[in-house]
């Protein structure tokens, strides 16, 4: 049995060792050609119907599959050879190149391209404007892009141009062609800050009004002046400073709300920083008077660039004399009444400082007087104390 199996196995192996079978490739099938005839009543324009006839050499019994396609859509309908078929305008709502192919028995027997043109331009024109604000002085430009289209939204590859009209000293209207579906109008800013209106149109097809704001450039250097000044170190009062009308290099008034910074320098040190904003090109600032006599230099800045002149301002001592009384019974130190230079009480809230053993205590004046309750403050009722108001000081022994 085993021998039989071995023999059978051997024979099978021998028989399987054969030459590979030769496969014959059939010759190509002859494809019969045909022609596609096109007729159009209204012209090759979107929305118009197109009559198609596929003319074959031999009449076909099977229907021919007619495929109408472009990059966006593809339609297929069955037609008979040599029969006129009207393709409705809805097949051609997109402008551009269409391919019409006739397919029979899985072979393309005819193929034809046709370009469908867009319809008449329709308003309103699609217009893009930007940037909507540009800085004067030819630093920036703005651009208007128009994309004309027909009633079905098809663009124009090329067309007669679009007219741009704006009010400017140097030009009235400009014409720009439509290329690659759009038209471009670019213009640089002028030297005058204003609102520029632009109209866009092509014959009877119009667009909405376009506007570009030409804004002032960076402020030029400017000047400041004193409007009101109380020349004493009365820190209840304000010094008022005002700029002149701040303009840019082209004379345009700068934008309202522009921040103006003021720097107060005393003995080469910056001691105060104030802010203001411009209204109609002018900024007003109120800087509080110092508490002590001082000589200031005030300068103003806009951003890191524009700078004003420097104004020196002086403040004299406001307190005329320093009166101190000590009530040993109630352990209270009464300072004042403090008189100001015009004979009036020193302003309420004037700070009086008492220094004892290196520690400072502060009180505010009311009706020119300030009181220190030494017992309440835990100060021993002996030794020296120093009283200081503004630039005046006096030491007393308790």
């Amino acid at each position: 049995m085993r021998i039989l199996i071995a023999i059978l196995f051997t024979v099978t192996m021998i028989l399987s060792c054969q030459e590979p079978e030769v496969v014959v490739i059939p010759p190509p099938v002859h494809i019969e050609r045909a022609n596609i005839k096109l007729e159009s009543l209204g012209g090759l324009v979107i929305g118009n119907s197109l009559t198609v006839t596929v003319i074959t050499q031999k009449k076909k019994s099977n229907p021919i599959n007619l495929v109408v396609s472009n990059d966006l859509v593809s339609y297929a309908i069955d037609i008979l050879s040599d029969k006129r078929v009207e393709l409705d305008g809805q097949y051609f709502i997109h402008s551009g190149l269409y391919t019409i192919a006739a397919i029979h028995n899985d072979s393309i027997i005819a193929k034809r391209s046709v370009t469908i043109e867009p319809g008449p331009m329709k308003g309103p024109l699609d217009v893009y404007t930007g940037p909507a604000s540009i800085v004067t002085g030819s630093k920036q430009s703005s651009m208007i892009v128009t994309v004309p289209s027909d009633s079905l939204g098809n663009g124009f590859v090329r067309s007669t141009g679009v007219v741009y009209e704006k009010l400017a000293a140097d030009q009235r209207s400009k014409w720009r062609p439509v290329k690659n579906l759009h038209s471009v109008f670019e213009f640089r800013s002028g030297s005058v800050a204003k609102k520029t209106l632009i109209g866009v149109s092509k014959q009877d097809v119009l667009a909405n009004e376009q506007a570009v704001i030409e804004t002032p450039d960076w402020p030029a250097n400017f000047s400041i002046k004193v409007v009101s000044h109380h020349p004493f170190a009365d820190n209840r009062q304000y010094l008022r400073l005002q700029t002149d009308k701040i303009v840019d290099d082209n004379g345009n008034q700068i934008a309202d709300g522009t921040e103006v910074a003021y720097q107060v320098v005393e003995d080469y040190n910056v001691i105060a920083l104030y802010k203001a904003i411009t209204i109609d090109g002018v900024a007003n600032v109120y800087i509080r008077n110092p508490s002590n006599p001082a000589s200031w230099l005030i300068r103003s800045y806009i951003g890191f660039t524009s700078v004003s002149n420097g104004i020196p301002i002086a403040f004299k001592e406001n307190i005329s004399d320093l009166t101190i009384k000590y009530d040993r019974f109630t352990k209270r130190l009464l300072i004042g009444p403090l008189k100001s230079m015009l004979g009036q009480y020193a302003p309420d809230g004037t700070i009086v400082t008492l220094t004892h053993n290196g520690k400072e205590y502060k009180e505010e004046t009311l009706l020119g007087e300030a009181t220190f309750d030494l017992m309440n403050m835990g100060i021993e009722q002996k030794g020296n104390v120093l009283i200081n108001v503004s630039d005046l000081e006096q030491e007393i022994t308790l």
Partner: protein, 987 residues
Amino acid sequence: MALLMHGTLLSFTMGNTYDAYVHIFFGSHYAAGWFETWNYKWYTGFTMTSYPPLVHQVIAILSKVVGLKLAFLMWAMVAVGLFIRGVFHFSQLWVTPIAAGYACLLATLSSSYLEAVHIFGQLPSISGMALLLNACPELYRWIRFNRWSYYITGVSLIACLTAAHHVTTIFGMVFFIAPVLGVAVLDICIDERSGIENVRVMDFVKKVLRLSPKAILIGLTVITITVVMIFPYWYWSKTDPITQVSIPHGSRASFIEDPGLGMVFFLIPWGIMLFFLPGIFHKIFQKRNLFLGLSFALLFLLGTGGTTPLPKLILGANAFNILTLDRFTFWGSIIALPFFGQFMWSLAEGRLAAWVKWHLGAAIHMVTVLFIVVMMLFVAGLIINFSNMKPTQPTSIEMTPIASFLDRDGHDRWRFMTLGFGDQMAWLSANTSALSVDGNYHSARRLPELTTRPVERIENSKYLGEEGLEALRDFLSLPEKYNLKYIFSNDKFYEPLLYFYGWKKLKPLENGIDLWERQDVPPLPTILPKKDIPDIQRIMWGTLPIGSLLTAILLNTSLWFVRREDRKNLVALIPTYSSGKVARIVFVLWFLAVAAWVVLQGYNIQKAKNLHQDPVELVHTYFHAIDFKKFEEAYTYHDLSGGLTLEQYTLELSLEDGILASYAKLDTLIIKEVKQISDNKVKIDVKANWFTAVQKYSTEHTFDLNKKDEKWYIIKPEYEAATPPDQIINIPDINYYTQGRRKAEAGATFREDVLDRPELYVPAANLIKSDSTYHVVGIVTNIDNDPSFITIEAVLYDELGNTLYRANADEVLIHNLLPKESSGFRIDFDNWSILPDSIDREDVASFVVFARTSVTDEKFYKFMGLRELEVQDQQLHGRLDNYGNKEISIPQILALQYENDNLKWVKTHYMDKGIRPQREKPFEMELKNLKNLCLIEKGNNKNILINGSERQESAKLLPRNFFRQKNKALSTDEGIIILQTNGLVSF
């Protein structure tokens, strides 16, 4: 009685409960889409399979007819009815039917049940308890009388229970069902041995072994039901495990250290039962009831929370930190009901009644019973009015204006957030289709800003301390991350934070809620991410729970009619409850001890009201009154002999605006020194620590106190004497207005109505390392002629260009800049914990700054100045002067610190007091020590992008001398400091 009482009350209390609106919100989800398991409305979406759905699905069905709120009420009534029935039948396993009836009356007034329903609003939990109590007797009868129909009804109820509240199933097996099965087996032994005294342990053990197949069967049945009924829940738990850090809960606190929490989570739930606790323990620990006794004891212990270390040891740290332990007290108090009922029956008409009448007289007996009943009603009244006495929710908010705003004009294309709404935020979500970045169900959330912090939700972040505010700041500073654009605020506390983080306050809505908007936030993408589950699970989730309810109703009602006569024979073997003399003495002593403690607490409360006895106590109470804006009360603490009137006092307070006066909460108060000046005069130095939404403050105060007629009074300090110079101020100002859509048309904005982005320039942006934290500091200038809203974002990259960390400049930036105005900014990369573990801060190699702008019509106020500036020992001193005509509520100062012409740090400081027109206030600001800072990299044209373009594009608009102009600023030894000012002004 229960239906009448709870039904009437719940319609009033529902809106003030913690959880009612959450469950209503869940119900609204199912009403909108029954089989939809993903809910987009909270966080960035969460799965509804994270909570057993039965109660919510019932609400959804009922809401189709009666609306959401009434649907909640209706189901709550069903739950109450089932609960009372459950108490009655459960009690009959342990006490006589009459005592069970008493238990039902007590259940109606049960303080723990009242708390669960009218304060917590935990409808699924109370539904679960009701179903469990009804299931227990069924399973008892199945074991004891071998009636398989009871197995079917018991299992059907457990199926419902699992679908309603699976936690009750899991723990209920241990604490309820196991003791009930145990006592059923014991009763079989008692039957066979004709009395419990004849039953030995071995008898019980043998019986248990013989009945073990049944035990295994019920165990397997419950496990199968628990798994299958809510299989999507388990699937979600396994595939998307919770990563949330433990959120503190009051039930885990030590009730001795925090008596307030002890009251809410221990005293209130136990209520009147506390007086009778030994008696209840004594009854529960009768031989027959031993299993239930063990269960009760364990529940009692676990309910004590962190008062002892035992609950944590028993549960394990993980479970202890995840579970809320009030549920154990709740279950314990329910278990105690039958025995409390037994006691009350005995007192009213049983053995105890006879004893009292015999020894003390009928009148005393009646008084005693009446007293207890009145006390129960009193406690019930207190609990129901708890939210009026100690409000746990803000006053009710009308949601219609908010929902209308969100649903129109495409506002729902962005996410929103609420602040100060309490649990009403869930009700808002139920009434709008807009999405919120916050939510009220923290088990399901996955946002790292929330899961890495122990905060419940953002909307009450002020109550959660610094962690809560940090979480809120994460969302406010980077709103683009979650497309967050609108915030509805019901709490002025957050106003400074919102303003200084660049949010704009719009006109308030008709309901008085403030609306805040953030500019320049992209809308939500059209397609939002969603975690889907297999369709089979969706079908299970939508059919099994509701199917279990219908099945349970069908089985229980039909079989009830069939078994009505049968039930009379299937009664439990109730022991005779009696107490020995010693036990009675213990009970009486305990009662008196608790009563004495209550009286003592009352005395302490009364004593605390008599504040003028102690000057230190008076100062504490004064600050407490100021903190809670109780100004009339604070006025009474002053020495009025000098003629101080209430009108004068409140006038001076009202003039004192500022972040501390209007937007702060008192954190701690430290009495630094008490100086006795004389017998009747004391000076107290106090340090008060406040926290606000933007930063913490410490203020120092010195109080002079006088003693008159044995009472101490505060001497009011003199109000500031300085007055402004001018009676009328005239300052020219500017107003901007952006039209938005000029045509009244709904839909997208026309491109003609979109304004250009203003031009911006970033002169400097540097990457700084401080210890191990990275920062980007810089300066930005609005070089346009329009006012601009600025957003500055910085991104850190590793060497391969992979993004490590994105962050925005938040409060350290003046977000709204006028033309030609500059601001420093600082971006801190200090919360690496919210990033994936794979990201390592050591990999930081480079950075990029993205700045973008949009036109704003924000109201500006720049009429201020800094003067008397001086730098001493790293401290900047000066005064801020308001020379304009508006009050600056919160002045802000930015200090840009340079070292060797390199900007190294930008610091912000908020003054603690507001400044009225033509007034000034001093400030002191600590500067940063620049020596500890390392400049890693300076920004250049390549890594600074402005409105999407490289920086040099903006530089084309700059004048030639822009870079030549030196910064004029304060000079210090280290370098120069540029100062800028800003402020929150009420217009």
